[in-house]
């Protein structure tokens, strides 16, 4: 199934693009999607989980089972100035 990963700020600057398209097996979880991203872009600072995962613009978790056409966003912790 096809899933999009949206990158912003630091992550977007690190890889030079704001969107990555992935082909995943049916029933894949967020963590598998991120493993694919890290395999292609090892410089992305994803290993220490210093970010939030949102699926379809709603905060989620690494073990969420993805659906076809889902959009994963990696977000910083935002508290407002």
């Amino acid at each position: 199934m096809r899933v999009s990963v949206y990158l912003h700020g630091l992550h977007r600057a690190a890889v030079g693009t704001g969107q990555i398209e992935l082909n995943l097996r049916e029933g894949a979880r967020v963590t598998e999607a991120l493993a694919q991203v890290m395999a292609v872009y090892p410089s992305l600072p994803l290993a220490d989980k210093s970010f939030l995962v949102a699926v379809n613009d709603r905060v989620s978790h690494l073990e969420e089972v993805l659906q076809p056409e889902d959009g994963i966003s990696l977000l910083p912790f935002l508290g407002g100035g």
Partner: protein
């Protein structure tokens, strides 16, 4: 320069973060006085905002207006400001009765001014009266002299807040700038507009130039200008490392080192504020439909990437230096561009240094439908030089643009083509506002007063009712209590609607910013949870404004240990470091709850001032409908998928929404209005208020705030309330 008035004194040494002394200036009589803080004062009112609140509560009345001689302009740091061992410690508060709201306003500002004021021996500066000529106040801690002098004339090239401040600092430093002298100034725009700012100027040896930070909100610079006080210069050569003389220096160093470690390890992997500054927010706000566009009609735009942070980093932030606004802050989120050539306005072709932009300034420009980074830089610089708030300027200009768009203003009213996205028009309106010309004169009054002007002209031209016209304008005039909204769209976060509506000073996000935990995290699903957050966050944020600290190292750098706590968004592990820092500095053993209780006293005192000034009732907390949802059908259409899903959720699975989109829009309007009223009820209950937003007697009594004035106010608000005073006056 011959002083108009002079005062010799011996600077009081700092002990445990305080000097326990105030400097009081009466400009009418040119009187200078040094007074002692009353016993128990610091325990009750902490510092910063608390000191400003208490001085204004005691010394102004219901009749006091921003330009009344008795209005007090207070500048106060706090016990935790001035500490290089701890990050974010250069903040101070400028507080007064606002020209926009008519009630208490304060705005926090970074730089070296408050630390130097403390080294000169003062916890707070209180200015009253009105000078009969423009004056400058000079506080010299080295010689122990305080002087009022006639404001020097540096010629036409140095009339602005930045240029005048630089000339002044060079004059008083003998030509060789150092970090031991700083100034606050206002600009000529503050003499025309109600949203004038106070600039804080200090020398940065790394950039080898003077940098500036701003107290932007609510017109504090307008008050300063109206008093005839052009600038204040403060200097001291005392060592900053011992600036607070804490009770437990080792405890301060330990807490500060721990927080600096969190920042250095986490910020580069999180928001990256140290490299990009607050402009980094633009991208995230745009993604979640929160970035104001065309006067908050829309929250996302395909051109927004033109003002994303990497654009400013590559094109403008020339040296990529960590621009902290005070020693020891390794978050250092202030950014600067040293060589920007102006292309517009009266100083076109001049090369200037721009301190900023902050996210709020970027948002003010997108609010006008403009996505040009060069215009952002120029708008930033001109507003600072004129001494105007970038937020109120942008929001009022946007409101007028929408009045033109919707036919409430015509070409005769405006005099030129004013429309969203039109850079030349926005630029002209900015300069006309600073000069008080044409439509700029109306713009300078802010949205609240501009609404009345537009309503009268439109109604007269169309033989319509002024009240009915005003009701239409109220839908999209983005102000509450007279203050313009800061730069976040709240249509999809009920909690943040309250964050703006209940904010005591008006809709500025420094009291509560709950958009992400509500809209994205979905952590506040019930009215009760929203109400709890709308009580807790303003209290902890108030504490930062009372002690002289920046809140970004707490709220925008997530401590990894927070993930193991029940409420990660509150970032308790970092707050524990702040509690340790407070206790080590002042020699206390307070808990976080004790600090929140101290803040609640200040919030209640601010509420009392609001009640006294006619801005404390339930109706004062009402927000324009655009802040609740789609004020017009075009806004509904632009996010129809979201609004339709929200409507279905409200109706439940058994009820079908109307087929006609116009009917759906109308139903959404009705439901959202009701939701906001329900939120009001929940929040007032949580805060110990009546349903009319008035604090209960017992709530005030619990915090020692029932003085004669408070009892009188509550008796006016509630004829059934006890008539006698129930606690000693503080």
């Amino acid at each position: 320069m011959k002083p108009l008035s002079s005062f010799a004194y011996t600077p009081q040494p700092v002990s445990g973060g305080y000097t326990d002394r105030f400097l009081e200036i009466d400009l009418t009589n040119k009187n200078i006085a040094v007074t002692d803080a009353p016993p128990g004062f610091k325990e009750m009112y902490i510092g910063g905002r608390g000191y400003a609140l208490k001085l204004i509560w005691d010394r102004t009345t219901r009749e006091t207006r921003y330009d009344s001689p008795e209005n007090v302009l207070v500048m106060a740091g706090g016990p935790l400001g001035n500490e290089p061992w701890f990050p974010g410690s250069g903040k101070f508060i400028v507080g007064t009765i606002s020209p926009l709201t008519g009630t208490f306003i304060d705005s926090n500002i970074g730089g070296h001014f408050a630390p130097l004021l403390k080294l000169c021996g003062f916890d707070a500066l209180a200015v009253t009266g009105i000078a009969d000529q423009d004056v400058v106040l000079v506080i010299d801690g080295e010689t122990g002299t305080i002087e009022l002098t006639a404001a020097p004339d540096f010629g036409d090239a140095a009339l602005g807040a930045l240029s005048y401040g630089e000339a002044l600092l060079r004059e008083f430093s003998g030509g060789e700038l150092t970090e031991n002298i700083a100034a606050v100034t206002n600009g000529p725009g503050a003499g025309q507009a109600r949203f004038g700012i106070v600039n804080s100027l200090f020398y940065d040896p790394r950039r080898k130039r003077i940098r500036a930070k701003q107290a932007g909100r609510g017109g504090t610079g307008t008050v300063m200008r109206r008093k005839g006080l052009r600038a204040i210069v403060v200097s001291s050569n005392l060592a900053r490392l011992k600036g607070n003389n804490p009770v437990d220096p080792a405890g301060v160093k330990k807490a500060g080192a721990a927080l600096k470690k969190v920042i250095s390890q986490c910020d580069p992997k999180q928001l990256n504020l140290s490299s990009w500054g607050t402009t980094v927010l633009t991208e995230y706000m745009n993604k979640f439909h929160i970035l104001p566009i065309d006067n908050y009609q829309y929250g996302q735009h395909p051109d927004a990437a033109q003002v994303f942070p990497d654009v400013f980093l590559k094109k403008y932030f020339s040296q990529n230096l960590p621009d902290g606004c005070y020693f020891g802050c390794n978050l250092a989120c202030a950014k600067a561009a040293d060589e920007v050539v102006l292309t517009r306005g009266p100083q076109a072709e001049k090369k200037v240094a721009v301190d900023g932009p902050e996210y709020e300034t970027v948002g003010a420009v997108t609010c006008m439908g403009i996505f040009d980074p060069q215009f952002v830089m120029e708008y930033n610089w001109y507003c600072d030089e004129y001494g105007l708030d970038t937020i109120s300027m942008g929001v009022t200009a946007s409101f007028l643009m929408e009045c033109a768009q919707r036919g409430f203003l015509d070409s005769e009213d405006i005099g030129f083509n004013l429309s969203f996205g039109h850079i030349e028009a926005a630029d002209r309106l900015l300069h006309d506002t600073a000069r008080g010309l044409g439509l700029g004169r109306i713009c300078g009054q802010g949205v609240h007063r501009a609404k009345a002007w537009v309503a009268e002209r439109h109604a007269a031209r169309n033989s319509a009712s002024v009240a009915e016209t005003l009701a239409e304008l109220n839908k999209f005039g983005m102000e509450v209590k007279g203050l313009e909204f800061s730069m976040y769209i709240t249509k999809e976060s009920l909690a943040q609607q309250g964050g703006y509506g209940f904010a005591l000073k008006g809709p500025q996000h420094d009291e509560a910013w709950l958009i992400f935990i509500d809209q994205v995290h979905k952590e506040l699903p019930t009215f009760e949870k929203k109400a709890d957050a709308l009580k807790w966050f303003p209290l902890i944020r108030t504490w930062f404004n009372a002690v002289g600290l920046c809140k970004l190292p707490w709220i925008d750098v997530r401590n990894p240990e927070a993930a193991q706590t029940s409420e990660p968004a509150k970032n308790f592990p970092t707050l524990a470091l702040y509690v340790d820092y407070f206790n080590a500095t002042v020699g206390a053993s307070k808990s976080l709850q004790d600090l929140l209780d101290d803040s609640e006293r200040l919030a209640l005192l601010q509420k009392l001032i609001n009640i006294r000034q006619g801005k404390g009732s339930r109706s004062s907390d009402l927000i324009p409908f655009r802040a609740m949802g789609p004020a017009f059908f075009n806004e509904y259409q632009s996010r129809a998928e979201y609004y339709d899903a929200w409507l279905q959720e409200q109706l439940g699975p058994d009820r079908k929404p109307p087929d006609d989109p116009l009917d759906r829009h109308q139903l959404i309007v009705e439901l959202r209005r009701q939701a906001y009223q329900d939120l009001c009820d929940a929040v007032y209950r949580a805060k110990g208020f009546t349903s009319e937003a008035i604090p209960l007697m017992e709530t005030l009594a619990r915090f020692g705030l029932l003085d004669d004035q408070a009892v009188g106010l509550l008796n006016l608000s509630d004829p059934q309330a006890p008539k006698e005073m129930v606690s000693p006056r503080n």
